[in-house]
């Protein structure tokens, strides 16, 4: 049984923007042929991802307010929402594996549970620090007479502290379940 939720202008906010789960909205119309070709894929995925990902459909003919709000100019258009924001989209009738990859990607980027969200936060934090450390190292390589430079010495000290802190963050990250 398909678990696709039918969306209207009236319930869009409640069902999509306030949804606890990451949500896909398929903008479609009865006169759109390619739209009919992807509906069975969404029906299948809606069963498979039940409780983890929400799949919705909105008929643009009958719900023009939402279609205009999201500047829909071509269908099928599938918009992906997480935490009330439109975070990604797929245009056109695409194969199942493309949709599946998007759903998995969104689940990774926007996990529903607290630990999952902390993990995403820590991962980007650690990566961010690493990137800046690399940039700093590159700067060091290209610079001359650094030993005598007092500013360099204080930055180096701070960088070493940051490196330690980053290693601690990485360890926490590795200990997180999942």
């Amino acid at each position: 049984m398909s678990k696709i939720v039918q969306i209207t202008d009236e319930n869009f906010e409640e069902e999509v923007l306030n949804s606890d789960l990451p949500t896909e909205v398929d903008f479609w119309a009865p006169w759109c042929g390619p739209c009919q070709m992807v509906i069975p894929i969404y029906e299948k995925l809606s069963e498979e991802y039940e409780g983890r990902f929400k799949f919705c459909m909105i008929n643009v003919d009958e719900n023009q307010r939402t279609a205009v709000k999201y500047q829909i100019m071509s269908i099928p258009m599938q918009k992906y929402f997480a935490n009330g924001e439109n975070v990604d989209e797929i245009l056109g009738a695409v194969p199942e594996q493309t949709i599946r990859a998007m759903v998995e990607d969104i689940l990774k980027r926007f996990p529903a549970d607290e630990t999952g969200r902390l993990k995403v936060l820590l991962t980007s934090w650690v990566e961010h620090n690493q990137k800046h450390a690399e940039k700093f190292n590159k700067w060091v390589e290209k610079s001359n007479n650094l030993e005598d430079n007092p500013i360099y010495n204080s930055v180096l000290q701070a960088a070493q502290e940051l490196k330690k802190a980053n290693e601690q963050l990485s360890q926490v990250l590795m200990q997180l379940p999942g």
Partner: protein, 314 residues
């Protein structure tokens, strides 16, 4: 490496019919489709010229029925795009986005796709004001101004269809007269919402999140100008999806695969069917006929090679 008797590339009417016939003939058959099954006919709201459906049938429904029928006899269908094809005696090796496959015979039914303008901004704004299908997307331009690029039957049909929604339709054509049929031309010239911009090409499409403006150039004077529109519909013809096969098959000047009347190409064991074939009438019924001929030729080829499974007549 997975080995098949016949691999058909493309899941439109030609490919689905070829797959139906090869699988019914007892050949181990696989069909590759890179997008959604059904091919270009899924864009047709109502197909009124395919025999057997006196009231007409939605293109998407016809595609879905053809798919159901084709897989009934054991045809496997996979989502993958063929990238290259090479001969490795005694069979062909097809490299795809999902890995390599082998087949004794190959049927190419990859069809054609809309030709693009190939200008800056086109890809980024595709689906956000740039469209290749007036029937699909015209609805979203109610009381707005749009442009159609092209001067053939498709462009003029699109312009007339768009005039039902849009407040104004510009037709931008690179020549000073249309290629479209006389009757269409007369209707177009008489239509109050249509305005023609002659001898002009689009050089750039621009806009922040959605299309806002076209940059135009007059081909004779070289003069540039801007045109503010909400939508642009590109109708500059079709392009065969034959890029992956050009190194192994004879193509005509436009990239269509050259075949004989039994769909044989210049490479023994490779057959072509449907829109991708030179001189194809580009009709669903014709594609279906091509699919049948290609499947029968593939069957005969495998029989002569003596490397097919237990064969029964198709």
């Amino acid at each position: 490496m997975a080995r098949y008797d016949v691999i058909t590339i493309g899941g439109g009417p030609a490919g689905l019919t070829a797959g139906l016939y090869t699988s019914r003939a007892g050949l181990k058959s696989l069909l590759l489709e890179r997008g959604a099954l059904g091919g270009q006919m899924v864009n047709a709201m109502l197909v009124e010229n395919y025999p057997g459906f006196p009231e007409g049938i939605a293109g998407s429904e016809l595609g879905s029925l053809m798919h159901q029928q084709a897989v009934r006899y054991g045809l496997e269908v996979a989502t993958a795009e063929a990238i290259d094809i090479s001969q490795e005696q005694p069979c062909y090796s097809i490299s795809t986005t999902e890995g390599s496959l082998e087949a004794s015979a190959v049927i190419i039914a990859a069809g054609s796709e809309y030709r693009k303008l190939e200008v800056t901004g086109e890809e980024r704004l595709s689906g956000h004001g740039v469209s290749y299908c007036a029937t699909c997307d015209g609805f979203f331009f109610r009381n707005r101004e749009v442009a159609v690029v092209g001067g053939g039957d498709t462009a003029i049909t699109d312009a007339l269809e768009l005039s039902q929604h849009a407040s104004k339709v510009y037709v931008i054509h690179r020549r000073d007269q249309l290629r479209a049929g006389k009757a269409l031309q007369e209707r177009a010239f008489a239509h109050p919402k249509l305005e023609f911009i002659w001898d002009t090409v689009v050089e750039e499409v621009s806009g922040d999140k959605v299309l806002e403006e076209l940059k135009l150039r007059h081909v004779k004077t070289g003069q540039q100008s801007n045109l503010k529109v909400n939508g642009v519909f590109v109708a500059v013809g079709l392009m065969p999806n034959s890029r992956s096969f050009f190194n192994i098959l004879e193509l005509d000047d436009f990239g269509y695969i050259v075949t004989d009347e039994m769909m044989a190409t210049s490479a023994p064991g490779i057959f072509a069917a449907g829109d991708i074939r030179r001189n194809s009438p580009r009709q669903i019924a014709a594609a279906v006929g091509d699919g049948v001929a290609a499947a029968m030729s593939a069957f005969k080829y495998i029989q002569e090679q003596g490397n097919g499974a237990k064969l029964r007549s198709p």
